[in-house]
Symmetry: C2
Subunit: 436 residues, 2 copies
């Protein structure tokens, strides 16, 4: 038989313990903030019928980016490319039994067939936080406060990121009432505004002229007036006085009350998925070298209703693991994370039997112990302990067994302590308390 | 557009918060025991090339039970049906850099196209614990000790389960030397012994006769002698004196030293996967109504070598979520698990602003607070708190805002306490400590 490749499947990655530790650190931030707001964890299947993405996620995602196939029973299924349709399906199924507002979160993997690039992998991990059954701006305020708390929990300062806010209702009002565009023109204009930072000013003007057609002379100055507005007060009067702007203003008031800084109104923020119906927002890195969206979310009131239930309003946000890690690294916010193992117990001489017993006693007291059963040379063992980032090593020879006094070495500090069993248990209890 | 189905895809299940809490409880047991032995967490892709299962997992699994398909780039891939080939691939890829023995664990989901039935779902969750690079019986002893600790951590008593142990080398010796079977016959005999509890004695004899062919007169009494052996001492002398039995005896000595009870030697234990090369074991529920394997594992020294690296020895075990839950439920070992939310903060009158502030202060102090922004009736809110299994509710009216003394209600005990902010923080700090 020929040799099998040891490389991971294209666009996916292996998480060795040192990578998994970092991922778990990010997950722990997500989990802590989500639960602090009373959101409860759920889980959904890795496979879903393809049609649930075709409905509302956008053509590109459903047609070109899914890992879809026909199963052995003839059903067309897809590895989930996002969580929103799954959780809407779940809410629809238990429509009657759920307590509202339902606050739900999950941390899960997804797959999309995209060109692999920095910050984008074909298999990726995301937090999804959603609130169902709250129609007011209070729901958006809570989800955005949590997004802000997630950023703060990384150690980021308010000037390291900015939360841009817009409203789909305002976008629709702007396209139809203010710019006078029909539905097809509006779609082109939205796509154009979405890419405006990626193309030249001339290209933007040329393409905008094309969208307006005969109305270009009237339309172009209006678009310019929009783009020059850096705050709600700056907006052309007919937009400023709309109900949609009033809603955005209410949201800003609530967020300021909740002590969220780093907020800006951005009328050009469009946001990808087709299913958004109200407020949309994105968190941006302010570092000029990495000036891109970290994650975003918004209101999508129409999605639960697609599953045969009465409509239920919804607001959600979904940070991704890879962009999050890039942010932490580029801002030097990634701490050094030790192994989950507390102590490596090194057996000197013929003490295996006692070492097994001692290791089990430590374990019973909540200490994670790797027991050396390798019989390797001591310098080799110490190298391994350093490689694995285990903070302590304990040497057990016959003297230690007799005296009940153990030599515990703190690797990072290069210090050795002579301690009794109870003192070691106490030392780790104090350490764990400090980690909270 | 027609309505979408709200049911989960066939053979998969949705985990609503009350289900996810139970799953997380099981995961926490697995994680705690794995880490207490110094095993570190890793992660692997959900998709792998199909060929890595074709190699050694067994024909049935690779051909009939995988969710496999051709991706958009023409590669034949499968949703992982088990973890062992993935982790072997990962170890092979970092052959040179890893520290040995490498102790690794993961908690992940898998898919197999099987007929859904009790204790078996098409998407399922497993712990995988593996040690690489230890050739001695010490590795098996550690993995089996951990399996025993996992069972103990559920609250199970030694008489609730039994760990059956056998050895593939012993099986091979038995088939070739003792029973005189060739490779094809041996395969049939192994499959027959594996099913012996599921068929009648007469069927067993008939099928064994067929396997032996002309040698039936000599072979049948030998098989009977094997089946009558309830301990190693009972075995026919030529087997009892083999090197394989000596190895099993050494393992028993190590396990008794590590205080593992519930051990039996079972020469008829075969265990599914083709890749096992040495010791195999299975944990069984002793409840006569549920007398089946809960999980198992063994030594598989040949698998890493398939990925182009030099062979590395390996021993592993993999408990599954569904069978584990069934065990906990049928033995009444499943505790009542509260929501991750500590307090539901109910707003009375016009105190939303102060409630938002108070909720945030609690969160800063590590208390998980669901803030009511629903404006629903109080009895409806209380119903929701009970439904979600949140242990406390705090009522915030104008009097509480003025006095700084809050009414905290313990739902389970139906008791109300009047407490200041700091006292509430203290109460939850003490509670969390008690949970450890």
């Amino acid at each position: 038989m020929s040799t099998l490749s040891s490389l991971p499947y294209k666009g996916t990655r292996d998480f060795y313990p040192e990578d998994k530790r970092i991922q778990n650190y990010i997950f722990s931030i997500w989990r802590k903030v989500s639960e602090s707001y009373g959101y409860e964890e759920y889980g959904a299947p890795i496979l879903e019928p393809l049609e649930i993405y075709a409905a509302k996620s956008g053509q590109e995602l459903a047609n070109d980016q899914t890992y879809s196939f026909v199963d052995r029973g003839g059903r067309i299924v897809a590895i989930r490319p996002e969580m929103t349709p799954s959780i809407c399906r779940m809410v629809a199924l238990r429509r009657q039994e759920l307590a509202y507002p339902a606050r739900l979160y999950s941390i899960a993997n997804f797959m999309r067939y995209e060109r692999p690039q920095r910050g984008r992998e074909r298999e990726f991990w995301q937090l999804n936080v959603d609130i169902f059954g709250d129609d007011g701006v209070t729901a958006e305020a809570e989800i955005i406060s949590m997004s802000d708390d997630i950023m703060k929990a990384t150690g980021a300062k308010p000037e390291d990121y900015v939360i841009k806010i817009n409203n789909r209702k305002l976008i629709n009002f702007m396209m139809a009432q203010y710019l006078g565009l029909d539905a097809v023109q509006a779609q082109f204009m939205i796509k154009l505004l979405d890419r405006k930072d990626k193309i030249s000013g001339q290209d933007f003007t040329d393409q905008a002229t094309e969208v307006f057609g005969e109305l270009a002379d009237v339309g172009l100055p209006k678009v310019e007036a929009l783009l020059n507005a850096t705050s709600m007060a700056d907006l052309p009067a007919e937009i400023r006085d709309s109900a949609a702007v009033a809603e955005v203003q209410e949201l800003f008031t609530l967020l300021e009350r909740a002590d969220v800084k780093s907020l800006v109104f951005d009328i050009t923020l469009m946001r990808g998925f087709d299913y958004y119906t109200g407020m949309v927002f994105e968190v941006f890195d302010t570092n000029p070298e990495n000036n891109r969206a970290l994650f975003g979310g918004g209101r999508y009131d129409g999605l639960v209703g697609l599953f045969g239930a009465e409509p239920i309003s919804a607001v959600g946000v979904a940070p991704g693991g890879t962009t999050f890690l890039n942010f932490l690294q580029s801002h030097n916010l990634m701490p050094n994370i030790n192994s989950s193992t507390d102590v490596y117990l090194s057996v000197l001489g013929d003490t295996t039997r006692e070492a097994t017993k001692l290791a089990n006693e430590f374990r019973t007291n909540g200490i994670n112990v790797e027991l050396d059963i390798s019989g390797r040379k001591l310098d080799r063992q110490i190298k391994n302990v350093i490689k694995k980032n285990i903070p302590f090593i304990l040497f057990l020879g016959e003297d230690e067994v007799k005296s009940g006094v153990y030599t515990l070495k703190n690797i990072a500090k290069s210090e050795e302590y002579k301690l009794k069993f109870d003192e070691i248990v106490e030392l780790f209890a104090v350490r764990r308390k400090g980690e909270k």
